[in-house]
């Protein structure tokens, strides 16, 4: 859709008269054109704000909503205007596109909202003019990143649910990576942290001069490490043992050993513990003691092991890595400047006697110290030229160092905020999910409440019904009617968690087998379902069920499973249990039961899905096994007298 093509088309057609005398074949007749009514002004009413424009303006872009006949759907005959129930502020931009041919992107609006408006009016985002396109793309990418992080966080949040049957290795690895999964992992985490701290402090303390024993010789200062060699050696050994153990465990648990060996953290671990072992095997001979001393320096790398414990350190490291190019630039420009100024200073000070500037490399030290504005004063120019160049050197040093720093800072800030955002979102996610769950259960509860108040009973007590049933909106009425239709279709009823769990509880009375039901459609209360307590409560519950059809757990899929289960009397397959359910006797009882309902055969045994907040997915329903169904119908089976089963 090139801008203004429609405007120039009549001109192009008219200019075709130039071809007429040259045409060797007769030209086709012109398309029939309806009598033009001339240009008229259209009124477009967007949420009360009236926009008026020529019809021709809108006709410029015939494959959009406003330019095509699609707008007739929105025509309001009484008021003679086109009414759109959309955002009038955004419509401004859309209309301006028709007028000027350029689509601009509003700065203060959410980019998602703008996208939706564009989609509604049939405009593609590619139409956005060059002036706004870059910003639009950037904001869109930022949004997409944020949403992707959301999804990642969700998936990561599902992580704690360990798949059953994970090996020791996997569990160990997860404990290492995420210490909050179990208490042992947490303990281990803190212990290693403590030992790292101890080791570092020991390294530091052993160099402090302690007063020598006054008895032996004249009091002489001696480093503590030499005074208490055994104590420090024991401490060092203990720490190294712990670190070695940890490293070996991590190596064992790692899913990909090669990748683990190559990772930075494992390298740090190795560097931290290797000096000790090398020290063990190298005897304290004088000629290698120098190398031995060097090795002890590497012990300080143990402090980097803290980065597993501290997120801030990790962020810092990541920032430095991502700012590698800026740091490289800084380094390069500094080197250049140092060489230039060192050369100049050397030659400026060459003539002076007893000068410190003995060579250009010697002048490097002066240049670095001056450029970073340290100014130790151990090397000072004495000639005038030297002083002038020295001052220029310090001024330029300030500039050169200040230039890449904001880039690094902004990078760090961005990464840091991203991390903060991720953490915040993870924390808020739980609250959000809980609230969503609450809202969902709210609808179900409303329906159940309505049913309990006797709203479903036809004909009987019409006026009382009106009184006791709380006022429902038209939407709610229709929704409840829909749910009711479903109940009638499947011959099962909706019920709430409590009812269902208690119903199951009645079955479990006194019967515990090693086999269990599939958890997929059962609300999992930790151990509550196995309560052999409150038998009276279940009885009461059973009476309550008197008027209802077979009660099932929530969700239609579960209902279908139960119905299917009526036909099956086979023994339950083996599944890992969260709740042991008794089945066998019930099967026999229920064989004679006659439930007429939809029949679905679901032959495969169910899998164990512990997440109760998800409604049973079709997959799990497909896997729902006999046991569950049998247990579901346990309730009516147990109390055949009290349960009235309505037959279809």
């Amino acid at each position: 859709m090139a801008a203004g093509v429609a405007t120039w088309l009549p001109f192009a057609r008219a200019a075709a008269v130039g071809w007429l005398p040259l045409a060797q074949q007769p030209l086709p007749p012109a398309p029939g054109v309806k009598a033009s009514r001339g240009d008229e002004v259209l009124v477009v009413n967007v949420s009360g704000r009236r926009f008026e424009t020529w019809k021709n303006t809108l006709d410029r872009y015939p494959d959009t909503l406003l330019g095509s006949s699609e707008k007739e759907f929105f025509y309001n005959a009484e008021s003679g205007e086109y009414f759109f129930d959309r955002d009038p502020d955004m419509f401004r931009h859309v209309l301006n596109f028709y007028r000027t041919g350029r689509l601009h992107c509003p700065r203060q609006e959410c980019i998602q909202a703008f996208d939706e408006e564009l989609a509604f009016y049939g405009l593609v985002p590619e139409l956005i003019g060059d002036c706004c396109l870059e910003e639009y793309r950037d904001r869109k990418k930022e949004n997409a990143e944020r949403l992707a992080e959301d999804e990642e966080a969700e998936q990561a949040g599902d992580g704690p649910a360990l798949p059953a049957g994970s090996s020791l290795r996997q569990r160990l690895w997860r404990a290492f990576e995420n210490p909050h999964t179990s208490t042992t992992a947490l303990v281990f985490y803190y212990v290693t942290g403590f030992f790292i701290a101890v080791s570092v402090i020991a390294n530091v303390v052993e160099t402090i001069p302690c007063r020598g024993t006054p008895a032996r010789r004249p009091p002489r200062e001696q480093p503590c490490g030499d005074r208490f060699p055994n104590a420090f050696f024991c401490m060092d050994t203990a720490c190294v043992l712990i670190f070695t153990g940890e490293y070996l465990l991590r190596l064992f648990a790692a899913p990909s050993r090669c990748r683990f060996l190559r990772s930075v953290m494992s390298l740090i671990d190795i560097v931290a513990i290797l000096p000790y072992y090398i020290g063990l095997f190298v005897s304290k001979k004088d000629d290698v003691s120098g190398a031995f001393v060097t090795l002890r320096v590497f012990r300080v790398f143990r402090i980097f092991k803290f980065s597993r414990h501290s997120q801030g350190l990790r962020i810092l490291g990541y920032t430095l890595k991502s700012c590698a190019s800026e740091l490289g630039f800084l380094l390069f420009s500094l080197t250049m400047a140092i060489i230039i100024f060192a050369t100049v200073m050397f030659y400026a000070e060459k003539g002076t006697s007893k000068t410190n500037f003995t060579s250009i490399p010697a002048a490097f030290w002066y240049t670095i110290v001056t450029m970073t504005t340290l100014g130790y004063g151990d090397m000072v120019p004495s000639t005038i030229a030297g002083k002038i160049f020295g001052s220029i050197c310090s001024l330029s040093g300030v500039l050169v160092i200040a230039l890449p720093v904001p880039v690094i800072v902004s990078n760090f800030s961005r990464i840091y905020h991203q991390n903060q955002r991720a953490d915040k979102r993870r924390a808020q996610q739980k609250v959000r999910l809980a609230r969503i769950r609450l809202a969902k259960s709210g609808t179900t509860n409303a329906f159940l409440q309505y049913k309990q108040n006797g709203g479903l009973e036809d004909n009987s007590s019409g006026e009382e019904q009106a009184l006791c049933v709380r006022n429902r909106s038209a939407f709610e009425q229709q929704h409840h009617h829909l749910l009711h239709c479903l109940e009638k279709t499947t011959c099962h009823e909706f019920t709430d968690e409590l009812t269902f769990s208690e119903a199951l509880g009645t079955i479990s009375l006194g019967r515990r087998t090693s086999r269990s039901t599939s958890v997929s459609s059962q609300p999992v209360g930790p151990g509550s379902m196995l309560s052999s307590c409150c038998p009276r409560r279940t009885k009461r519950r059973a009476i309550r069920l008197a008027n209802s059809t077979a009660s099932v757990s929530r969700g239609s899929m579960q209902e279908l499973e139960t119905l299917a289960g009526l036909q099956h009397s086979s023994a339950p397959q083996s599944r890992s249990s969260l709740n042991a359910k008794p089945h066998d006797s019930l099967d026999l009882n229920c064989d004679s039961r006659d439930f007429v309902a939809a029949i679905i055969s679901i032959p495969t045994p169910p899998a164990n899905t512990p997440d109760e907040s998800q409604p049973s997915s079709p997959g799990s329903a497909g896997r729902a096994g006999n046991t569950l169904r049998n247990s579901n119908l346990g309730t009516p089976c147990l109390l055949p007298e009290t349960v009235k089963i309505s037959s279809l």
Partner: protein, 230 residues
């Protein structure tokens, strides 16, 4: 470099810094060469206004409403009120995406630009359209002749016609059926001249042109094609 030399350099550096500082204080203004660039910007935003509506109504055969519609479209596309050759070519090329319409657009531009000032104003535009869409057959033929006569000397030579023909065939682009041959324009020119050139003198004058066109049924009929374009 001797010490003296370096000291000299140092002194020069100090002098340069001193000049810079004075500049900052505004006490020392070296000649600046940046003013001329900004003046140019003002010239390009001059806009052209057409004559009044009544005058245009007299000069052309369009109704008032038609003129209004035309001007609104024109002004929207060219807020400055004039179209120069580049814009013209660009506009025209939107309709022929497959081929290269720039040459033909140039010829058209020259046909519309009756006063040859390098730009087409609204009056030129409307005058041309008036002739094409509302004029008599003879007017239209005249206009077409004017289009073909590239040097406006009153007669069409074979070279001129060949240029026009080539530009028209260029608009077709590469992908045609049957495939375009090299000699197709030339052959077309030959047949044109055979039809139009009565006295076989190698050029077609305006009288020959109009006379031959009036004798051709197809041309006469197709002249009516664009009557209701606007």
């Amino acid at each position: 470099m001797s010490l003296d030399g370096l000291e000299m350099v140092a002194v020069l550096v100090v002098l340069a810094l001193f000049v810079k500082v004075l500049e900052q204080f505004g006490l020392f203004d070296p000649v600046s060469l940046e003013d001329s660039v900004e003046d140019e910007f003002e010239l390009s935003t001059v806009c052209h206004r057409p004559e009044g509506l009544e005058q245009l109504q007299e000069q052309t055969k369009f109704t008032r409403k038609e003129l209004q519609v035309l001007y609104r479209g024109f002004k929207n596309e060219c807020p400055s009120g004039i179209v120069n050759e580049e814009n013209f070519k660009q506009i025209y090329s939107q309709f022929f995406p497959q081929g290269d319409s720039s040459t033909y657009a140039t010829f058209l531009f020259n046909a519309f630009d009756t006063n040859h000032d390098g730009s087409v104003s609204f009056e030129d535009f409307v005058a041309g359209l008036s002739v094409i869409l509302r004029g008599t057959i003879d007017d239209r033929l005249n206009w077409a002749f004017n289009l073909y006569d590239l040097n406006k000397d009153g007669c069409i030579t074979k070279e001129e016609m060949l240029d026009i023909m080539k530009s028209i065939y260029d608009m077709m682009g590469k992908y045609t059926y049957p495939a375009l041959r090299e000699e197709a324009p030339r052959e077309h020119v030959e047949s044109f001249f055979q039809k139009m050139d009565r006295n076989k003198d190698g050029v077609v004058t305006i009288e020959e042109f109009i006379e031959s066109c009036q004798k051709d049924e197809n041309i006469m009929r197709s002249m009516r094609l664009f009557d209701n374009v606007i």
